[in-house]
């Protein structure tokens, strides 16, 4: 365990970004989003939920796959270079960390998505415990502990200090590179400081867990969402009622840390050749399944159902029961029509 004064965080960030890129929540134009740190940027670790999740750091909203040129009928393909620069993502909350596991199972399964894999290989994640979880949080239902966020290094901000605990090799390596800044609070070398730190963290953890226990959405009943209930859930008449206010925008999918659908498109840059890029897509959009011979999902109800069935039934069926929702609550606070996965879980789960 290590510790650093909160007032010295800017120094810490400067040190980290000396050797690599550093992404962390930045306050820009009244909103907090992950961005590349520099001296001029204003970081914001108090906002619990960034608008977009940290998914952007590993699976960017749009990225070029390759460039293609046609010179006198001869095609040439120039694949985009894979990420080869190490980077650190600082301040990821427990839910976002778990979401990376959900994405890993998609992108790192065979055949591996090399663009994503390269970023995962070069990225080190420093997580941050949630000091005060909000009423829109429901991570507890998915077995996530906001008091122990995991990843390569986990940290807690307690009063005027940041407590730092490396968990993996990558985390240790990062810690070593910051040796001059982080005060050692290790049991072997500095037993007094270690005891103090352990105590402070334990107290913080129990306070976080206490809050979570009391949150209104912490105790949802997920028992009906099992692969064997696929058809029953799929055919439920409740969808017809639930989807009604849906505006078919993509807010929920784009702020979601686990949504991974993408589209592949071309941009014809004239003499610069064609860029083939991929960008996030949303199953809520009407053209998501549009084909030359027609569309398989013609109503918004079907698209709405696909999103939640995928998160709660289809994905777990392929991934040992792991839900593709981490309870971050972004959709709860951002949906223009106040629809969200909690309402679906409650209604379909037979609660409301």
């Amino acid at each position: 365990m290590y510790r650093i004064d909160k007032s010295r965080l800017a120094e810490l960030f400067a040190a980290i970004s000396g050797n690599q890129d550093l992404f962390l929540p930045l306050r820009k134009a009244d909103q907090t989003n992950y961005g590349l740190w520099s001296e001029e940027e204003c970081f914001d670790l108090d906002t619990l939920k960034t608008v977009k999740s940290a998914k952007d750091c590993f699976f960017p909203q749009s990225e070029v796959l390759y460039r293609c040129k046609n010179e006198d009928g001869k095609l040439s393909i120039d694949p985009q270079k894979l990420c080869d620069r190490p980077f650190v993502v600082f301040g990821m909350r427990a839910c976002d960390v778990k979401a990376i596991e959900v994405l890993d199972r998609v992108f790192l399964s065979d055949p591996v998505d090399t663009f994503y894999a390269a970023r995962r290989e070069h990225g080190t994640i420093v997580s941050l415990a949630c000091h005060e979880p909000e009423e829109t949080c429901f991570c507890k239902n998915f077995g996530i502990d906001a008091a122990e966020p995991g990843a390569d290094v986990e940290t807690w901000i307690i009063e005027d200090g940041l407590y730092w605990k490396p968990l993996t090799e990558k985390g240790e390596a990062l810690t070593v590179s910051l040796a001059g800044l982080l005060e050692n609070a290790d049991a072997a070398s500095t037993p007094d400081a270690a005891e103090k730190a352990e105590k402070a963290v334990a107290k913080e953890q129990s306070s976080i867990r206490e809050i979570i226990e009391k949150l209104p959405l912490s105790h949802l009943d997920l028992s009906r969402f099992k692969p064997e209930n696929t058809m029953e859930l799929f055919d439920s008449p409740l969808w017809e009622e639930l989807y009604k206010p849906c505006l078919a925008c993509g807010t929920c999918t784009f702020v979601c840390p686990t949504c991974q659908c993408y589209d592949i498109r071309d941009f014809d840059g004239g003499k610069n050749g064609v860029q083939r890029y991929r960008c996030w897509d949303s199953c809520m959009y009407s053209d998501f399944t549009m084909m030359a011979h027609g569309n398989l999902r013609t109503s918004q109800m079907q698209r709405f159902r696909q999103r939640f069935m995928h998160k709660l039934v289809y994905y777990p069926a392929n991934n040992d029961g792991l839900y593709s929702c981490v309870g971050c609550g972004r959709c709860v606070s951002k949906c223009p029509a106040s629809l969200n996965i909690v309402k679906v879980i409650k209604k379909m789960g037979g609660e409301a």
């Binding site: 829109t136 009604k244 925008c249 807010t251 709860v332 106040s338």
Partner: protein
């Protein structure tokens, strides 16, 4: 609220309407969702409080295709959108039964929550104060700090179309508690900036855009069956967000397509997950139209010609933009 429910039940019972379009209680007290009610007993979940910001006019496009009449509750500014949609033949007046409801302003939940008010159950407006009923007792905050931007500069409390009114105070010009501000103030402020700063302002705001299309899909004026961005023409597709140009293109064209039709209902800026002040784009068009072609309020009536489908021989020349300079 009880009055609304009672009246809705009556109208459902006597067969005047086949369904009711209103707001349903959410999980949190601050997130009511737009909802249809088809049976009297469903109305137990009906809610109308200052958190009911959603403009239900847009839902009437879909409701119009259902059999029978739909009862809808519209706030004063929502009625402008309804009129505009009638004018564009997107909704049918005769298939809609409008109850105009009183409005003292609608709230931005985020603002209330970030003021530290938690466990919200209900809210009410009393003069300049917002009274919030919470799990931890009653809390208060200044109304102005909790309102949606559009309500801080309220257009007025007149319903321009309705079948009956409940709880409405007609004719009162000013907004909630007489707090109406100049809605063009921020536009004027931007106009007065040097172009470089203006550019920087918009660059910062628009670069937040995640191309979720919430602004487009919630907008009552954006009622095209197939949007120009639903395709790959103009290299600016619906969701690409590949570089800054795409975001600018999307927002300029969207604002342009609703120019002269936008009633300034403020739904786009209400729903934007990134809090982009989209109303500033729409209001710039409204302001220009007012200055160049005379005062015009879209949706105030269903007959007048829209400014962009009309002209006079004496219209100003486009060169005026350069002549007057300074971004006005």
């Amino acid at each position: 609220m009880q009055e609304l429910i009672t009246r809705a039940k009556e109208l459902l019972a006597d067969g005047t309407v086949s369904r009711v379009l209103g707001w349903k209680k959410g999980d949190m007290g601050w997130d009511p969702e737009p909802a249809y009610f088809e049976k009297e007993e469903d109305l137990k979940d009906f809610v109308y409080n200052p958190f009911c910001g959603a403009n239900l006019s847009k839902y009437l496009i879909a409701a119009g295709k259902l059999p029978g009449t739909t009862l809808v509750f519209l706030k004063p500014c929502d009625t402008y959108s309804f009129n505009q949609l009638t004018k564009e033949h997107r909704v049918k007046r005769e298939k809609t039964y409008i109850i105009g409801v009183g409005c003292h302003g609608t709230l931005k939940a985020e603002k209330v929550l970030s003021a530290g008010i938690k466990g919200i159950e209900d809210a009410a407006i009393e003069g300049d104060t917002l009274k919030v009923k919470t799990l931890y007792g009653e809390k208060e905050m200044p109304l102005m700090d909790a309102l949606l931007e559009r309500c801080q500069v309220c257009k007025g409390k007149t319903h321009v179309v309705f079948d009956e009114l409940i709880g409405a105070e007609e004719g009162e010009e000013a907004g909630p508690g007489g707090l109406a501000g100049n809605r063009f103030a921020k536009v004027e402020e931007l106009e007065a900036m040097p172009p470089k700063e203006r550019f920087a302002f918009w660059q910062e705001q628009l670069s937040k855009c995640i191309r979720c299309n919430a602004c487009r899909n919630v907008c009552p004026a954006c009622s095209c069956l197939k949007c120009v961005f639903d395709g790959n023409q103009f290299d600016s597709s619906q969701k690409a967000n590949a570089d800054t140009f795409e975001e600018q293109m999307f927002h300029i064209i969207r604002a342009y397509h609703v120019a002269g039709r936008c009633t300034d209902c403020g739904e786009c800026s209400r729903v934007c997950p990134e809090g982009i002040p989209l109303q500033l784009l729409n209001r710039k068009f409204i302001k220009d139209i007012n200055t160049f072609y005379g005062e015009y309020q879209a949706g105030a009536d269903t007959e007048s010609r829209a400014p962009l489908t009309d002209f006079t021989f004496e219209d100003v020349e486009p060169g005026i933009v350069s002549e007057r300079g300074g971004g006005r």
